[in-house]
């Protein structure tokens, strides 16, 4: 990452974001003038019941859905103003996504799950290998486990690879989608602790969406989502 890109890190901002889905004849409002600012190094959780709009919020912040109105700013850049290919590039350069299912590619080893991003960026995966191994080790996956494929890893280990992959591009914004839904309570707590630590060390603006209230003690700020509104 270039120096100027580091300097422009301002985190994530949503301004008056409204999102509707078609619903029969009319449209239903999934996000109702949602505003949110998350600074670098801040770990924010968005909690709320099922159907309240958490996934929609994440999709909009991830530039995977265009809101009906309002702005989505990543490091101050308005994603709404960008064409599809520029949004793809923005995701590549600014954003890390920790998926709900670990969403790893079945044919790749743990370390290759990270290296594929170097290939996507047009870089040389071989040259990035050491960095990928260090990153995996820093999330608690070391030694021979780095050479295993997803089906040879436990759920918690897969989630660690998922997190390391999200961090690989040195993102300024980290979006986390229900990271513990496939894990037991103890392992879920470990994963959230890891995310909190990463947010501090990597200075990411982290937004975690969850319906698991037991985890909320470990974050800097909890926002409640209810019927598309954020409080």
């Amino acid at each position: 990452m270039t120096l100027s890109a580091v300097q422009t890190r301002t985190g994530l901002a949503l301004r008056e974001v409204t999102l509707t889905y078609p619903d029969g004849e009319s449209r239903m409002t999934a996000l109702d003038r949602v505003s949110l600012e998350v600074a670098p190094g801040e770990f924010t959780a968005v909690a709320g019941p099922s159907g309240s709009g958490k996934s929609s919020l994440l999709a909009v912040a991830a530039t995977l859905l265009r809101p009906d109105s309002g702005q989505v700013l990543l490091d101050g850049q308005d994603a709404g103003a960008l064409a599809e290919s520029a949004r793809t590039a923005l995701r590549r350069e600014r954003l890390g996504i920790v998926f709900q299912q670990s969403n790893l590619l079945a044919s790749l080893t743990a370390v290759e799950q990270l290296l594929v991003l170097e290939s996507v960026r047009g870089g040389r995966p071989r040259a990035a290998r050491q960095r990928a191994e260090d990153l995996l080790a820093s999330v608690g996956l070391d030694g021979s486990k780095q050479q295993r494929r997803p089906h040879q890893l436990s759920g918690g280990e897969r989630q660690r690879v998922n997190i390391a992959r999200a961090l690989f591009g040195s993102p300024s914004v980290l979006l986390v989608d229900e990271p513990t839904s496939a894990l037991d309570h103890e392992r879920g707590g470990q994963i959230v602790d890891l995310l909190a630590e990463i947010t501090r060390t990597h200075r990411t603006a982290t937004v975690m969406v969850t319906h698991d209230r037991d985890l909320l003690g470990r974050v800097d700020r909890v926002l409640e989502m209810q019927d598309g509104r954020l409080r």
Partner: protein, 357 residues
């Protein structure tokens, strides 16, 4: 190719199966290609190899001339008119018939071509035939132990071998060469059946045809006039064409199913910033790897099989005979793959979010 190669390694069985299909079809096509070429030579090399550029067909008085060696006949007046026309370097008579060659040990069907020494294939030994003599191809000579000076029975006549030429064949029978008068004696005909023209720039075969009631075509186009030539070549080429199409469809179907199965992976890669272009290139590289691997293997198998087969069936083994089918297989397969992996562009990265993969 980062994901492409690892997917091949991971799903070895499936890709091996696809590669095997490409290999088998390529083997078959290379084999058919060589057979088509070999049969074409067996049916026509005596005509196709003539050192002439056009063939003149005639018809009995009152009939319209057609491109057919079995129906054609050329009168002395027509032959003289062509020979004397401006731009015609030579107009040599051709007599063609099928008969039996009998030696003390064996008998075989041969095609007899009666013509001037000027149209003889390159001589390997001996001399061009005079009246009462014949020249035979090298393979025929080897098969029946013929050497210059030996006498053989050709149809009703006893002829002396004058020389050995390069091997030629007509209508799937080896060709023996003799003079026009000797051919007339063997075949019971009294005039040649066609003319072989060598022309220079000033010739006007169209005008001559109109004046003489003849039909003049390029040597390559005259092969149609050999009985069964078009039907034989056409049906073999049609089988090859079908095999190419079947292969492209199978490859297309395979990569369609594969792409649909990969949709979740594609959505994740797009969500983490892979462009459609990157993913399509990756998928096409994968298809190319399978196609090139399969086609090269099949091409080699077809060529090796062809070398073995060429001792018992007419078979042309040549570099283009392998390279052309292999290249066409790869290119048509890629067309099928392009149509299949096109759907990568339509995958929505949004699908990577949420629980419902």
């Amino acid at each position: 190719m980062f994901v492409a190669l690892r997917d091949i390694r991971f799903a070895k069985g499936r890709f091996a199966l696809m590669g095997a299909v490409v290999t088998l079809i390529t083997t078959l096509v290379v084999f058919l290609y060589g057979l088509t070429g070999g049969l074409a030579s067996a049916a026509s090399s005596a005509i196709a190899g003539l050192p002439a550029d056009r063939i003149v067909f005639g018809a009995p008085a009152g009939a319209a001339p057609t491109v057919s060696f079995s129906n054609s006949t050329v009168s002395p007046a027509q032959a003289a008119a062509f020979a004397g026309a401006p731009g015609v370097v030579s107009a040599r008579p051709l007599g063609l018939s099928m008969t039996r060659l009998t030696t003390s040990e064996a008998a075989a069907t041969v095609s007899v071509l009666g013509t001037d020494a000027g149209l003889l294939p390159p001589l390997k030994s001996g001399a061009a035939p005079a009246d009462g003599q014949l020249a035979v191809g090298s393979e025929t000579a080897a098969l029946y132990h013929l050497t210059p000076g030996r006498q053989v029975q050709v149809g009703p006549a006893k002829l002396t071998v004058s020389g050995i030429t390069e091997q030629r064949s007509y209508s799937h029978a080896p060709t023996v060469w003799t003079t026009v008068p000797t051919w007339e004696r063997l075949s019971g005909q009294n005039q040649p059946i066609a003319l072989a023209l060598s022309t220079s720039s000033g010739s006007d075969p169209g005008a001559l045809d109109n004046a003489q009631g003849t039909k003049t075509v390029a040597v390559a186009d005259s092969l149609t006039g050999i009985n069964g030539f078009d039907a034989e070549q056409g049906s073999l080429q049609m089988i090859q064409g079908f095999l190419f199409v079947v292969s492209a469809l199978v490859v297309g179907a395979f990569f369609t199913v594969w792409t649909v199965q990969r949709k979740p992976d594609i959505a994740v890669l797009k969500a983490v910033g892979a462009s459609s272009g990157y993913l399509v290139r990756d998928a096409l590289a994968q298809a190319a790897a399978v196609l090139v691997g399969g086609a090269l293997l099949g091409g080699s198998a077809g060529a090796v099989g062809g070398v073995f087969a060429s001792s018992s069936v007419p078979f042309d083994v040549s570099v283009p005979g392998v390279a052309v089918p292999v290249t066409v297989m790869v290119l048509l397969g890629l067309v099928g793959a392009v149509l299949a992996v096109r759907r990568i562009t339509a995958v929505d990265p949004l699908a990577a979010l949420g629980a419902n993969r």
